[in-house]
Amino acid sequence: MKAITTNHLAKYYGKSRGIVDISFSVDEGDFFGFIGSNGAGKSTTIRILLGLITATSGLAEIFGQDVKKHKTSILRKIGYMPSEASLYSSMRVKDIICLSAGLRKMDCKAEAQKLCNRLELDTSKKIRELSLGNRKKVCIVCAMQHKPELYILDEPASGLDPLMQHEFYSILKERNKEGATIFLSSHILSEIQRYCKHAAIIREGKLLLSDSVERLGHTGVKRITLQGVDSIPRLEHIKDVKAEQGTISFLYSGEPVLLLKALSILPITDITVTEPDLEEVFMHYYAKEKDGYGNI
């Protein structure tokens, strides 16, 4: 069964565009990354999935149920972590965690304690006394203490220090191994590449593509790094040129034969051909001036 399915989902705020035509699906047990710049429509999509806002048109389903019709029963299966980590400032951490469990009519004390220990969270402090990172930790505990079937996490790791990010992703990997589905939006592409099995890229409210993280890297584009030269070969289909002393690096999406021909006349001392990382793929799809390989 699909954990998440969206079909031609659109949302307009008056005349302003939220999302235009979002169709993708997430399998049960997947670790799915949702990539996009600020204002691309990630949070709008997530808010529709949670029933916080209503789609202008299209369909959104979670575990085969329409999010509009079965909102409450769907939310029982979800652990949600908002990007802003806004909580009741006058409450203590332990009271917020207890409130979250109470709203689910569950006793999650044992699991909450385990998570607080792992995340080194002081539960006696008031929310207003916490840094962004610690407020994020409270949100993590609230999203995880009831061991949901689906985790929807909006920019979860921002604000966490590197050690805590590592611990957070360790917990997520454990939950994923236990069968839970993870759906997270992030700007940190290296994390998506490291942890996610599948990912989707969204730009200006439209879904650009959705595929396995491995296949997303295979765009037909190669990162070419040349030693011993100061200028780029005279070729088309070259992008993202980086030059340092005696080293030239660029993305190339043209014919290999043409590249070899152009390189054969240059005084190259070394050459490296690599797959672009996800960040380069992301930039590739986000490039405003599309060329032959910028189109999908």
């Binding site: 806002i53 802003e84 806004s86």
Partner: protein, 261 residues
Amino acid sequence: MVIFKHEMKQGKTALIVWTAAISFMIGICIMIYPEMSSQMGEVSDMFAGMGSFSQAFGMDKINFGEFAGFFSVECGNVLGLGGAFFAAMLGISALAKEEKEHTAEFLLAHPVSRAKIISGKLFAITAQIAILNIVVIAVTVFSVIAIDIDVPVKTLALLFIAYFLMQFETAAVTFCISAFLSHSGFGAGIALAAVFYFLNIVANLTEQAEILKYITPFGYTEGADIIMNDAINGKYFASGIIFTIAGIILAFWRYQRKDIL
């Protein structure tokens, strides 16, 4: 029940402060009554001769020499205006504050229907208004016992019922407004309570503005009418009930369809 308890905890400090302030002022007013009652004959004559000013506050029809008349003006204004401000503050911040501070996102991502959230908040508002009024009634009873005077129990009971219903109506109307707002309308809520109060003053000044009595909840809390008729004005009260029910229904309707941004 979780929402109700949560709301009661969130509003605890404000409830204590408002209840203590209003109760203290009412207690003081009652304690000084014996001192003032001896001079009340002259005070009543003075108010009767003040024309529109007395008329505006309904003091032209009231005998200040009697406890009910004194209570309805002095204590009524404290509990009426103070209670209305407290009720407006509760109502206007109930839903809008959650959105302004982005805690609505936290709350609504839990498996609780919006109808239950609205109900929980509404019950908490009602409970807080009830607690304030019960404490004020208790302070009134103890103060009256302390100064050892006979009081018209039925008239006082009607005044307290009218004040409670007025506060509840104010809360319901501002609660409805809150459902339409996505930012804190705290100032607007307090201003609306003040407008209600002044509409009643205007309605007292001229019969041509009587229609305002149907709009403002202060219309049926008018002490002079309650003392003279020994009853709450049914027409104004019925209008208040309609506004209250309409406010609550509209709040439910709006909030269940609202986009939480």
